[in-house]
Symmetry: C2
Subunit: 243 residues, 2 copies
């Protein structure tokens, strides 16, 4: 019944997740691991791995000796900060139907912080992309992405920039984005930013400053994103460490 495609563990995870959102478990109680394993015809280890992911997502809570339970609060989390997403995805998860507008694309010398983040030498340039994500006519997210010009293979046209940045990087540079190191910085919106975000200058906002690396630890992109706090709020689930 459960076989091909993604890993068994992932299939089991999705299967259980499905049942959770459909309210398929009585009183939020998830069956014992041995029972799930027998029902699905997989080993208990596989079930446990799947449950561990769901626990990590905040979808369930496990209590030793007592059982495993649906976590109604965890299901409220829309955006898991510790995961990589495209802003389209993120906005969809919030119930929006987003659109993208590329404000500008340019090859230019990097700002000092960008040069440092990307480990660029004097004289090396970056491809700068400025985008705004909208929900209907409301701007929600403003992003700047800076990619070392050396990495880009061919010519770049504005429509390329509409793709999520990791797709863009894979297509234009052949490198895969493995992780971001991100900082959360409070800022006052400048006039330029405020106008693009359709709000007032001087508004307090979050700036998400991050550098993306490939698996070899090479920096591929430096990015800065600003949000309309009234339309999009960042959330995170915080647990004890070492699970």
């Amino acid at each position: 019944m459960i076989t091909r495609g993604p890993s068994l563990t992932e299939q089991v995870r999705q299967h259980i997740k499905q049942l959770i959102v459909e309210n398929g478990f009585e009183e939020g109680r998830i069956p014992p691991e041995t029972e799930l394993a027998a029902d699905l015809g997989v080993s208990r280890t596989t079930v446990r791995d799947a449950l561990s992911r769901l626990e990590h997502e905040g979808a369930i809570v496990r209590r030793q000796g007592a059982g495993t339970f649906v976590n109604p609060h965890g299901l409220r989390i829309k955006t898991r900060l510790e995961e990589m997403w495209s802003y389209e995805e993120m906005l969809k998860d919030h119930g929006y139907t987003p659109s993208v507008k590329v404000i500008g694309i340019d090859i230019e010398p990097p700002a000092p912080d960008t040069a440092q983040a990307l480990g660029l030498e004097e004289g090396q340039q970056v491809l700068a992309m400025e985008k705004v994500f909208y929900e209907d006519d409301d701007p929600v997210v403003l992003t700047y992405n800076f990619v070392p010009a050396d990495l880009i293979d061919g010519e770049v046209i504005p429509s390329d920039a509409e793709a999520p940045i990791f797709e863009f990087l894979e297509q234009q540079t052949g490198n895969q984005l493995a992780y971001y190191l991100s900082e959360i910085v409070p800022v006052l919106l400048t006039e330029e930013w405020a106008e693009l975000l359709g709000t007032e200058p001087g508004t307090a906002s979050i700036s998400f400053d991050e550098t993306g690396f490939d698996t070899d630890g090479r920096p591929l992109v430096h990015a800065r994103s600003m949000f309309r706090d009234d339309l999009l709020r960042l959330g995170v689930m915080r647990r004890k460490s070492g699970g």
Copy 2:
């Protein structure tokens, strides 16, 4: 050689972490899992679990078919947002030697958002605790904690409030904090906050608004924390989901 106390997996994790920070691996290459297992006298599964935790912390990178490697960038992360910590711990990780000052303790009616977050009925009160964390004479963090008064067993004296909030809750209510749901909110500092944080009113700042729950999903505490961005910056590592 590796035996008692914490779990085997945790001991292996610490052992490898130790070697990483001591630069005990040539060229940042970590030995094959089978070799580690044989050397430490544990199963490969145990080694893999330990490595998974280190990967999750950002300390290492695993590349199928190639090997496991130290991640120098990941080691830079001081504060992992998705983990629960006490602010003392957090500041120590940043190289500070923090101290705490309890500004005030009071039993009072909850603000509307606090009442909602804690699911309180009309008339129920909260224990409010206001604290500032200092590095030397510089205030770095300002926190407000609100605990339902019903949960508190005995009398509370100011020195009790100096303990980390999860210790406080365990001692005063007997309940264990399992996780927080947190939101990151940009704010302009009010005069009161600015004075306590030793900075100017109107400065852009992060407000960390969170509710803490026990394993049964009961809200135990509602909290709000403000930071001196120039002294303490929140960081997070973002990876692909489903690992």
